[in-house]
């Protein structure tokens, strides 16, 4: 599979995701945001970090960069798009995903390992996980508090577009297992076409036992499946 990682000024998880993709045998390319053509790709990743310093609104300025036009075209043509953390914020700013990511409810940056539950495992991003499987995964963000309007929330529920939710070690999804105030503990969502995934947790940080665990690996192997 061919993948492209888009690099914005201020991206800082671009190397991390590239390492993970390479380990998973993706043929990966780094694409600078000022490029106007996208190499042929089956997967486009918008990496984590602080594109443009998170100034104005996180993801807003990256959402206006030249390459984004191409990403939108590819998305409409069915290419898989994965936005992690800042990448998720960029996806909502471009309108590829609905809703928005507000400041964490405690107004602080949060970095820690949390649990998320696989709510939908019948997607191209999650078919290697079991339904309701609990993953331990790292989050690191200031604005991860997912918010959307009631009708879209209803659509997310009905169409099974919520892919991950924050939970505790036992799998309980409630206020105490919600790190950032997200609506319904949402950690990751799909578009209605199910080819675009935006998620706040960092699967690329969970692909090496020495550093953490391997809970992120199946996300990538699902795509290869």
């Amino acid at each position: 599979m061919r993948s492209s990682v888009i690099v914005f000024p201020g991206s800082n998880c671009d190397r991390d995701i590239a390492v993970a993709l390479k380990k998973m045998q993706f043929k990966n390319q780094m694409v600078w945001h000022k490029e106007t053509v996208l190499p042929k790709s089956d997967l486009i990743v918008l990496p984590g970090g602080f594109s443009y310093g998170d100034y104005l609104r996180s993801g807003a300025i990256a959402g206006k960069s030249l390459i984004i036009e191409e990403v939108i075209k590819a998305a409409k043509a069915g290419c898989f798009i994965l936005g992690i953390c800042n990448g998720f914020q960029i996806l909502t700013e471009t309108g590829l995903l609905k809703g928005t990511l507000l400041r964490n409810k405690n107004l602080r940056f949060i970095n820690k390992d949390v649990q998320i539950k696989v709510i939908n495992n019948k997607t191209n991003f999650s078919n290697k996980y079991k339904k309701d499987q609990i993953l331990k995964i790292n989050i690191a963000h200031n604005e991860g508090n997912y918010f959307t309007d009631p009708s879209h929330l209803e659509e997310l529920r009905k169409e099974n577009l919520i892919i991950f939710k924050y939970c505790d070690v036992k799998g309980n999804i409630d206020e105490s297992s919600n790190p950032n105030g997200s609506l319904e503990n949402i950690a990751g969502i799909l578009n209605s076409n199910k080819n675009i995934l935006g998620m706040m947790p960092h699967p690329e940080r969970m692909t090496d036992e020495m550093i953490s665990n391997n809970d992120g690996i199946n996300l990538f192997s699902s795509l290869l499946n």
Binding site: T100, L107, F147
Partner: protein, 79 residues
């Protein structure tokens, strides 16, 4: 010509920042505080002497970048 733009969150959008600030002010012993919402503020100087044209440019900036129309409202004022 100089303008100010104030950007506020739409009514039904949660304002986590405003909420925490409000609680903090309450904790600090400030009474009578009914409500507080946080927004953004810009001061913009355009090189244009025609008011209508100038306002049009500022409006364009808001729509294209400064404001996320899905969750935010905005107001432009000449200053």
């Amino acid at each position: 010509m100089k303008f100010s733009v104030t950007v506020t969150l739409k009514k039904d959008v949660l304002d986590p920042q405003g909420k925490v600030i409000k609680n903090t002010l309450n904790d600090m012993g400030i009474k009578n505080l009914n409500n507080l919402r946080q927004g953004k503020y810009f001061e913009i100087e355009v090189n244009e002497t025609n008011l209508t044209l100038a306002e049009k440019t500022v409006n364009e900036m808001c729509k294209k970048l400064l404001v996320n129309l899905i969750i935010e409202d905005y107001k432009i004022n000449k200053i």
